[in-house]
Symmetry: C2
Subunit: 359 residues, 2 copies
């Protein structure tokens, strides 16, 4: 687990650069061994320095959720970006896409005939990838309808370059959900590729991805994977078995500000720092390092209330502890910067370049 | 309800300035009529322009949760600030308190003998207010122990100026929880004042507050109230009966990006925009304006999945809708700026000055 430097102002988001580098290398090597490209999702780190290190380790390009994230990458000189999201390309987003596509190689998701029409109407000069649903039931056309969307886009003048999916149903404990979600990704993409082929369209890019499934679905028709969370890890990935405690590269340093109410202690990291992401299979709002019996039962804007079961001793008021967040993506987005450490000593600070650029 | 301007880039946080001004006036007048000071909580708006308008309407000063928020107010020339939080005053926070107290009139919370000792040790020249717990079970000494904390602080050289509490248990539907929480605030503060008096200490400031209880507990020993959410309102305040639909001054404008999966529509405002705050008595992650049968059942980083019951018609892909957030405080903290509107037309943009300053 990460050792925290002394004297930090809290709450602060701390990143262990060596653990992060190991995560970057491991994923790159695992996918390279399978002959599948890695396009890490920038929505997790939102930090240009992290993206640069992922590219240096062999990533083919970056994935984004928003035009704002892609603009940050373009400003940093990163030139191959896929916005894996069904962007609705009306103004003013259409103008932003046009400006961006003049600067970088840009791909954008579509998941409907109407959306493809809007993107074609934007005349942005982007590549389009058709999103298909593999059981996550969020966005994405039915796989067998991918060709209908692709053909409509192509007829309207879009450069349709392939298909993509996200097996988000992989987020559950145990091996079975991960294996099934990976199978669902491959099967849906296979159907989608055939659906395009039926209309005489080729899928040069066939993209899957989530951290739990990234290695498992790197096979068959799949040409690239888009994991994001793997770079830092988090408590959900720990509990679902997609990382080990040694892979956790980011924790929130927070001070015990109160032990006034008996049976609990209170940290200065609230929902504006830890976020309220959780899951039915995850008790509490984060894991307090060094206090495995503590459960963060209530999270207010600026307070985390931690209850101790069975009379276990808690930290003293004034002590600084680390909390492994349930879900790291929203936590990074809440921070202005991360404190970069090596062997428990601060060596740098990195701004969260794409913080709040969720449009 | 707020009318949204055309052509917004989404997601965007929209504030109707006339509704906000009405909220500012109403609370100021209600407390002035009771002879109780209003010290609005800055953790809700985090926008200097809003704080200035609250002061112009008669507020006695501002409340903050963090030193960072207080620094923003000091930079804006606002000179009377209470950090209603048991700040643990070790370095580097001690140095920040010292620097701040040279610029403004600053009060800081303490809730234990040890915390009072740490604050005294910081030699910051701040006033201390003792926090007591009135049943919220978060922070705060037992009311009858307030004098022990105050006396320890005074002995260590602190200027102990009073007591405060927060009846957060008021957050529940119906009149009864609000009435009981307000009674608990007044009773706890009464006990705390007596506890100080027993040790020969006076409480010049006796401070209560939450938006649901602010007017109800403005009586007896109470000298000031610290509501925050009232300035914008939100869905929780609506459901618990602390505001009406006409009082909602802030909504998230968001675009329907997908209707590909049957029975639902998907918005581009996810957890990084709407936050995941909720309550057992509140279904879903926000209220979709104009579509009362829609429930935001799943909230991902960049997607809100809205399900429609009973075959009610939903919005079309590409349509921009407003979402009333469950809890406005974390939502403002997620935005870089707010779009200020009047009668449905954009008239200004205000930066969220204290965004991410949660330390």
């Amino acid at each position: 687990m990460i050792a925290l430097p002394d004297g930090l102002d809290t709450p602060a988001l701390v990143v262990d650069v060596d653990v992060m580098e190991q995560n970057i290398r491991s994923m790159a090597e695992a996918l390279a061994a399978r002959g599948v490209a890695l396009r890490p999702h920038f929505k997790t780190p939102k930090i240009v320095e992290v993206a640069r290190r992922q590219l240096a380790a062999g990533a083919a390009g970056l994935t984004c959720a928003t035009i704002g994230e892609a603009e940050v990458l373009a400003d940093a000189g990163i030139t191959d970006v896929f916005i894996a999201y069904p962007v609705w390309a009306s103004e003013p987003k259409a103008a932003r896409l046009r400006a961006l596509a003049e600067r970088i190689d840009l791909s954008v998701g579509v998941d409907s005939v109407a959306g493809a029409g809007a993107l074609a109407g934007a005349r942005a000069g982007v590549r389009a990838l058709v999103e298909v649903d593999c059981g996550n039931r969020r966005t994405g056309a039915a796989p067998e309808e991918a060709g209908v969307v692709a053909a409509a886009g192509a007829d309207a003048g879009l450069d349709v370059a392939g298909v993509f999916t996200h097996g988000g149903q992989s987020y559950a404990p145990g091996e079975e959900p991960k294996r099934k979600a990976a199978e669902a990704e491959v099967a849906a993409l296979d159907l989608a590729v055939r659906s395009l082929a039926d209309r005489g369209l080729a899928a040069a890019t066939v993209s899957a991805g989530s951290t739990p499934t990234a290695v498992l679905s790197a096979r068959g028709v799949v040409t690239e994977e888009r994991p994001g969370t793997y770079v830092f890890g988090d408590r959900m990935q720990l509990v679902i078995g997609s990382c080990t405690p040694d892979d956790i590269a980011a924790v929130v340093a927070t001070t015990v500000v109160s032990t006034a109410v008996p049976g609990q202690f209170v940290l200065d990291a609230g929902a504006k720092t830890l976020a309220k992401d959780g899951a039915p299979w995850l008790a509490g709002h984060g894991a307090v390092m060094g206090y495995p019996d503590a459960v963060i039962t209530r999270l207010f804007d600026h307070h985390a209330v931690c209850e101790l079961s069975g009379g276990a001793p808690g930290p003293a008021a004034g002590e600084v502890v680390g909390v492994v967040p349930n879900h790291i993506c929203p936590v990074v987005n809440l921070a202005a910067e991360v404190v970069v450490v090596r062997d428990g000593a601060e060596i740098d600070r990195w701004p969260v370049d794409a913080r709040a650029l969720n449009h």
